[in-house]
Symmetry: C2
Subunit: 391 residues, 2 copies
């Protein structure tokens, strides 16, 4: 068995943070959403999953996945769907080019590492499934476009489909029952609006009460507001947000981003029993952003919250001082400011109580920016002998 060749390929994939939110599935098995969504892909310099996919007759029995050195269960329907779809594409390729090695039949070994804490509420499953799908597609030498692969990644984790692109990405909900038109597309590359920055306020030691998947289906089943959101609020937000991105209009981008976050969390609160992801620390972050915008006389900072209490604050590079600098003034003692060029600014105009709650409730900050989609890399997490590289 030691003579069996080992095939492998590696990629990194980014985190994305939605500005028009995905919440609610019309088909939980296929991860088909009840509404379209839009996200900004964040720089992999700060947040990324690095994944190597390998296959060999010497592996097995069965497929395996190692995440941050811990073996993961790959028998779940979501991971299996990704493996199955990718193998099917490889089989088609092998059938049409008989000289190709028969990789589809070989056991897969996937090794993955995040450069940030998993399950810290930082959309790690999106980067994880995007990297898994992209790495296997590289291994299988598939010609599929990112949009074609997004159909597969979506079945692993809905929002993962958006992490196959850099920049500004829409996930079109689609209409078909088989999900073949529920796909991610690029609205604009990172280079179109490269000055977009994101400051993440990471809340300490707050565990989620409800997992996202359970939560969203309870909302669909019980919230009377949810229907209004899916049918009226989001379709309007999609149009406004796409326009804002194309025109690089931060005022409009910020308005829609904050309203969308509020609308999503209002749907959660309207669920029976209610789901709360925002806590007093989140509320203090909102107060601080409102203060910053009031001082500026326009929207220069926009908060958004996923299914957790962490605030992601978008702003443009030219307002780094007025947004990140003010928060560094108040929160400069936290980890995450080092090696980033942010000048401490006066924060005395920000609500004192909000600052106090933020000081007591945050564990760190992450400063990042809009970034690229998955990047193929020769850096492998699997050694020539097929074993995971120990870092």
């Amino acid at each position: 068995m030691a003579d069996q060749p080992i095939y492998q390929a590696s990629t990194t994939a980014p985190v994305n943070i939605a500005v028009v939110k995905y919440w609610g599935k019309r088909d939980p098995k296929l991860n088909l959403p009840t509404n379209s969504s839009i996200s900004v892909t964040l720089s992999q310099a700060d947040l990324r999953t690095h994944t190597t996919a390998a296959c060999s007759a010497s592996f097995g029995p069965g497929d395996s996945l190692l995440l941050n050195t811990s073996p993961q269960d790959v028998s779940g329907a979501r991971t299996q769907a990704c493996f199955r779809e990718l193998r099917s594409l490889r089989s088609e390729l092998e059938a049409s080019s008989p000289s190709l090695p028969k990789l589809a039949a070989l056991p897969l070994r996937i090794v993955s590492e995040n450069n940030f804490p998993t399950a810290a509420g930082l959309a790690s499953s999106a980067a994880g499934f995007a990297a898994l799908v992209r790495a296997i597609a590289n291994l299988y030498e598939l010609k599929s476009t990112p949009t074609e692969l997004s159909r597969i990644a979506r079945q692993g984790s809905g929002s993962a489909c958006r992490s196959l692109f850099g920049g500004y990405v829409a996930w079109q909900m689609g209409e078909k029952d088989d999900g073949s038109d529920s796909l991610a597309v690029e609205i604009a590359p990172a280079s179109h609006w490269p000055t977009m920055r994101a400051l993440i306020l990471v809340v300490s030691a707050e565990k989620k009460d409800v997992s996202s998947t359970a939560g969203m289906q309870i909302t669909v089943a019980t919230s009377k507001y949810f229907k209004t959101r899916a049918q009226e609020v989001v379709p309007e937000a999609m149009i406004l947000m796409e326009k804002a991105i194309k025109e690089k209009n931060f005022q409009s981008f910020g308005e829609v981003t904050m309203a969308e976050s509020n609308s999503f969390h209002a749907s959660c609160l309207d669920t029976r029993p209610p789901i709360f992801y925002l806590n007093d620390v989140s509320r203090a972050a909102i107060t601080a952003v409102n203060s910053i915008n009031k001082k500026a006389g326009r929207i220069i900072a926009a908060y958004t919250f996923d299914a957790g209490p962490n605030a992601v604050i978008y702003y443009e590079d030219e307002n780094t001082d007025a947004v990140a600098g003010v928060l560094k003034g108040a929160l400069g003692n936290l980890d995450g400011w080092e090696d980033k060029d942010v000048k401490v600014q006066d924060y005395s105009y920000v609500d004192t109580r909000a600052i106090s709650v933020l000081k007591g409730g945050l564990s760190r900050v992450i400063l990042t920016s809009v970034g690229e989609g998955p990047i193929r890399t020769e850096e492998s997490l699997i050694a020539a002998n097929g074993e995971p590289v120990r870092k």
Copy 2:
């Protein structure tokens, strides 16, 4: 002037806590609401405003109002509307019975005292305006029914119209532009369902960010969910709640009460900028109520929150141990349990973190029950010489 007669009459009036929420005015000047609402009147043994209304040619110049020994501004449009409407009814009476003393023309002196802290988020304005209107109506010997007086009290403070009745009260939004059909009516007296209890968890030192009046009109103007709430959610809740009260069906009463509270606060969160009244302490109270209901296997406790973080928890007398007793087990060190027959119960099944947040965030509890409407009293807050009684 000392020989001028002093006319006076006194009343007490109750607090009410809505179970179908009032939020949004279609006419801010007349306090005409965008939806109907339902409340439970709470016992005056625990929460009441005591008001004496007097008039005399020796008073003045002008009308005056003393609340808890502090002089209040009576020039505001709301107070003026109440005075004007009541004087107008008295004038009609004097015109039809010329032997009556001409009280409508005399300066009014109102003295009011609450048996609970004003502005602690305990609906003091509802009790206050109900007592003011009832006391002056007594002084003027008006034959008006409580429903007729509710039209006047509503102009002082919207929810005050519901405090003119005991028991279970509906405020019918009405349709007319002049507000003549926007009135309170009794759904059922306290004696119909006398076993209803209320436990109020008073949150310490949390100041409101936004006053109710400003908040609700921003919601009307900016929340996309608000329309759904006013047009669909509340009309359905009104029907279900009236039925639940008439049938004394606590399961249904509790379901609607909690969903209504969530729906109202979801509308607030959907406002631009978002309005938060619930904080981490409120959220912990919700978690505790959910634990209690889960343990019971049905709804035996129902939370509701007005425009502030205090929880009001309704339950039936037969479940005092299972609801109030459990919370007393966890929070027995707080003020408010004394002189109330509540046995301490095991609370170990309630989420530990929720208990810890409640312990750290509450200032006191108030144990009360459904109660009667305004009660005429001979106990006067104004002495024979016309001066306020110093207690």
